[in-house]
């Protein structure tokens, strides 16, 4: 399981709607809000899946930017073993 956290920038006034849309996505949790910025985690099987989920946020109305802060991939089964 890959665990990552992001800051999603919302157009002011759309934060609640965006938070709802985000929370409806499998593996996504909305934790906090700092002004127009939502703190989100994604739990997905692989880095690839995590990226796909994060990239899909741009389709949500009001999402301006998707910033990755932290990604832990120590348990990604798809990564080549060193």
């Amino acid at each position: 399981m890959v665990i990552s956290s992001l800051v999603v920038d919302a157009v002011p006034g759309t934060e609640d709607a965006i938070a709802q849309s985000l929370a409806a996505i499998d593996g996504v949790e909305v934790h906090n809000r700092e002004e127009n910025r939502l703190v989100v985690t994604i739990e997905a099987e692989t880095v690839d899946a995590s990226h796909a989920v994060a990239s899909s946020f741009i389709e949500i109305d009001g999402v301006m930017n998707i910033n990755l802060v932290y990604a832990n991939f120590e348990d990604d089964p798809s990564l080549r073993k060193a």
Partner: protein
């Protein structure tokens, strides 16, 4: 992962993102080198690094457990990104651990197998190095013009520095050029012509203070996402902030701009002149700034296009750099044809939109930031267009102030740090120095401990990138070595350069490729040398805001893959065997300070090696460290035109970069503390990021805007009149469309790293041709149809999409170049800006027909 660890990691993830959102991340991620992690707990180590994807240069913290990278965090202490990364950050781990990493040297015994997936066999390092060295030495001894090194804006600073030193001082050859020639050479020549010093006066912090943003042919939302995020954050904080997007097609950047001005290809030259004309004609320019700071010039016009291989040597090719001084009144006269009406008719942009944009520059209270990259640089008049943007910022005095300035973005992580600052170009020496200038050669000889006059043999510039490949295709190149690039996909006119058809050129050249994954370039290699990637060794990047940052070695390279520097020095020690410089061993004179020839290895560890190289390189911008160099810098003998003022690019000791997670040059020592400069040439406190020390040393106080262009000749930047001249090709009956190529968010450049990621590849699985719906109707094609795109130079097949990521205007089509199976560069022409020699990837004329 155990439950407890998983909970801990998740709690960490939330804490980090919460802190980043509120801007207080620094406390949580304090990175103390190899100490135990404060982030994830347990037995992990943390290292500071820099993202290796685009030119933003974002800091990241790498966490390592049991010799493997397990997490990346945006580095809050790196001021370029302050803890935030874009979604490409996910792939920083993945890029190291792809299944098909190259881990052993490969040799091709039969050159007729080039261009196929087979033909390479495994070899030992000794066999591969001996073979490469013998071929290089054989060519070097026979005819130096028939060898070349093609480097990169991804080659870390110390590696680029040593490579350039080997080529320039070791082999006495100028046939070395970086792939940065393909992305920002026009910006470089623009900077040098206008300011006589490379790189912007401002910095990324300007994004937080500007009142108006103008993007010129730049899709920042996809190509520079972290910076674009800062731009949109600024707009959000102040509803009066405006963004004008200028381009030949609508992009994701246009989607969030307040206004998009779509112009006909090449007419951006006229638009900038139109703004200048408006300012001058209506006396809306900054008169004090003009009086104190500017000189006016005109230059050679009607310079044609570099169609044939002999262009550079032709009469016009030889005079393209010529400029001469004119009066302000003459400049005003030259601008006169660029009325709103004429420019509107030429460009297709409405008069009222042009007027609105011109008024932005006319408003003395507005802070304006212009941003550009490939649309301006990859332009048959790329250098001119850089000039024209500077012209309007200089006339309006909107430069070198927080929130105001022309800002040239870069595409690669260290196009600035290595290609430009180290000077891995065919005409350069380190730190903006030129091979053609005797004072510059003397200065380099002093630092490299060479006898006076030793570098006179390289006073004539070598082959620029397009010239290298044109000569190769004609059978005039016997040895080509490339590193950190994928020329077989990224060069224009691949039909010619890959020897499609005649099977000549590249098939007869001995090609060496340092690589991390199999690419199209390795398919043309005679020897493939597997290299360490990113944090598998220590290195340094320099980004677009003059920030130099170190990435520490965090993990070991896989298998037998080696540090590029090790590879370079192994070959150098073989090639220079028996050679002498002034009676001394040549190799030891140049590289003995880091390499023990008898042991066949570095003298110190990777950190010490980097420090030792950095300290020598840093002498170029700290002449006080070398008595002989100092005398030449000061022109003590009086034999040269004046002082070199090398301190204008001053770099700090290596440890300062580690301690500060990057610093923007010039870095100044004030009371024992090394302080960066955020706004060059602007007077003010050094502690607050202004250029106090530089102005005190070489500048003048009390000039308009508190600015002093102290590195520029006579202290006066040049406003050079550059007219509109048409693109190299224009649509006709046979080739009625403009074809433009570029980069999209998910796939970085030629996709050698990002396309190894299946999910990412699924997100954007293939390169598609974006076509305007009206053009689709005309052509009788619909979404998903396969078409053949054909130019005068070559052709490729591709699927059509009207719902793609760009929305071209009628008559313009776009496709990205990341896909190896859709090799768009087979058709792209290789005509370049005659001044910068940077090819125009944006305006090839093509026909389109349904397959």
């Amino acid at each position: 992962m155990e439950i407890s660890r998983r909970e801990f990691v998740k709690a960490t993830a939330v804490a980090l993102a919460t802190a980043a959102a509120g801007g207080s991340l620094s406390m949580l991620v304090a990175c103390s080198g190899q100490s135990e992690s404060a982030v994830s707990g347990g037995d992990t180590q943390k290292y500071s690094a820099v993202c290796r994807f685009c030119g933003c240069g974002c800091g990241v913290i790498c966490e390592v457990k049991d010799g493997r990278l397990v997490s990346v965090t945006g580095d809050p202490d790196n001021q370029s990104n302050k803890g935030l990364n874009c979604v490409k950050g996910y792939y920083l781990a993945k890029v190291l651990y792809g299944e098909d990493r190259l881990t052993t040297p490969l040799i091709r015994d039969d050159s007729s197998t080039k261009g196929t997936e087979g033909g390479l066999r495994e070899a030992s390092w000794d066999e591969a190095l001996d073979l490469v060295a013998s071929k290089l030495k054989e060519t070097w001894k026979a005819d130096k013009s028939r060898l070349a090194f093609w480097g990169s804006g991804q080659q870390p600073i110390t590696e680029g520095y040593i490579t350039a030193k080997l080529w320039k001082a070791g082999l006495l050859s100028n046939n070395i050029d970086p792939n940065a020639r393909l992305c920002m050479a026009s910006a470089v020549v623009g900077f040098m012509n206008v300011f006589q010093t490379d790189e912007p006066a401002g910095c990324y912090t300007d994004l937080d203070y500007a009142d108006v943003f103008v993007t010129w042919g730049a899709n920042m939302a996809e190509a520079h996402p972290v910076l674009y995020s800062r731009l949109t954050a600024r707009k959000l904080n102040d509803p009066n902030v405006k963004h004008y997007d200028l381009g030949t097609l609508r992009t994701r950047t246009s989607a969030s701009a307040d206004k998009t001005l779509v112009f006909h290809p090449g007419t951006d030259l006229a638009i900038a002149n139109c703004i200048a004309n408006y300012l001058v004609e209506n006396e809306l320019y900054d008169a004090d700034f003009v009086e104190d700071h500017l000189q006016f010039k005109a230059g050679t016009e009607n310079i044609g296009n570099a169609y044939d291989d002999g262009y550079d040597a032709s009469d016009v090719g030889q005079s393209v750099d010529k400029v001469w001084n004119i009066e302000f009144a003459e400049y005003a006269e030259m601008l006169k044809p660029y009325t709103f009406e004429y420019t509107s008719e030429l460009s297709g942009v409405a008069v009222e939109d042009l007027k609105e944009l011109a008024d932005v520059f006319a408003d003395p209270d507005k802070k304006v930031m212009s941003l550009w990259t490939m649309g301006v640089n990859q332009h048959n008049r790329g250098t001119w267009m850089n000039h024209n943007i500077y012209n309007i910022h200089l006339l309006s005095g909107k430069i070198a102030q927080p929130g105001s300035g022309p800002f040239s973005l870069t595409g690669q992580p260290t196009a600035c740090g290595t290609a430009r600052e180290v000077g891995t170009f065919s005409h350069r020496l380190p730190a903006d120095l030129l091979v053609a200038n005797p004072q510059h050669r003397r200065y380099s000889e002093a630092i490299w401990n060479l006898p006076e006059g030793y570098l006179d043999e390289i006073q004539k510039p070598g082959f620029h990138t397009v010239k290298i490949f044109r000569e190769m295709s004609k059978g005039n190149m016997d040895f080509l070595w490339s590193a950190h690039n994928n020329w077989a996909q990224s060069m224009p006119n691949l039909t010619r350069f890959l020897g499609r058809g005649d099977q000549k050129g590249v098939f007869d050249t001995f090609v060496v490729v340092n690589e991390v994954y199999p690419t199209l370039s390795t398919q043309y290699a005679d020897v493939v040398l597997p290299a360490a990637l990113w944090v598998e060794r220590e290195g340094q990047f320099g980004n677009a805001e003059r920030r130099t940052a170190v990435f520490e070695k965090a993990v070991d390279p896989p298998g037998d893959a080696k540090w590029d520097l090790w590879i370079i020095l192994q070959v150098a020690s073989r090639v220079l065997e028996g050679e002498q410089i002034d009676g001394r061993d040549a190799f030891d004179t140049l590289f003995g300070f880091i390499w023990d020839k008898s042991a066949g290895d570095f003298k110190g560890d990777s950190r010490q090696t980097n420090i030792d190289i950095w300290e020598e390189y840093r002498t170029f911008s700290n002449p006080d460290l070398n008595e002989k160099a100092k005398a030449i810098n000061d022109n003590a003998s009086g034999e040269f035109e004046g002082k070199l003022k090398m301190e204008a690019k001053q770099l700090a000791p290596y440890e300062e970069y580690l301690a500060n997670h990057g610093l923007t040059w010039p870095v100044r020592e004030v009371d024992g503390t090394w302080l960066p400069t955020m706004w060059r040439f602007a007077n003010g406190s050094q502690e607050e990021g202004f250029d106090e020390v530089g102005i005190a040393q070489y500048g003048e106080e009390g000039l308009a805007g508190g600015i002093s262009f102290y590195k520029t000749a006579k202290g006066k930047p040049s406003v050079v009149f550059r007219p509109y001249e048409p693109p190299a090709e224009e649509p006709d009956d046979e080739y009625p469309f403009w074809f433009c190529t570029g980069r999209l968010l998910e796939h970085w450049h030629t996709g050698t790293m990002t396309r190894r990621i299946p999910e990412l590849d699924r997100a954007l699985p293939e390169a598609q041709l974006n076509v305007h719906p009206d053009d689709c109707t005309k052509l009788g094609v619909t979404d998903g149809d396969l078409v053949r795109v054909k130019s005068r130079h070559g052709e490729f097949e591709i699927h059509v999409s009207t719902a793609g990521r760009t929305e071209p205007a009628p008559g313009v089509v776009f496709a990205p170049f990341f896909a190896q199976e859709t090799l768009v560069n087979l058709a792209v022409h290789d005509y370049y800006c005659p001044l910068s020699k940077e090819p125009d990837y944006k305006k090839t004329c093509v026909s389109i027909e349904k397959v």
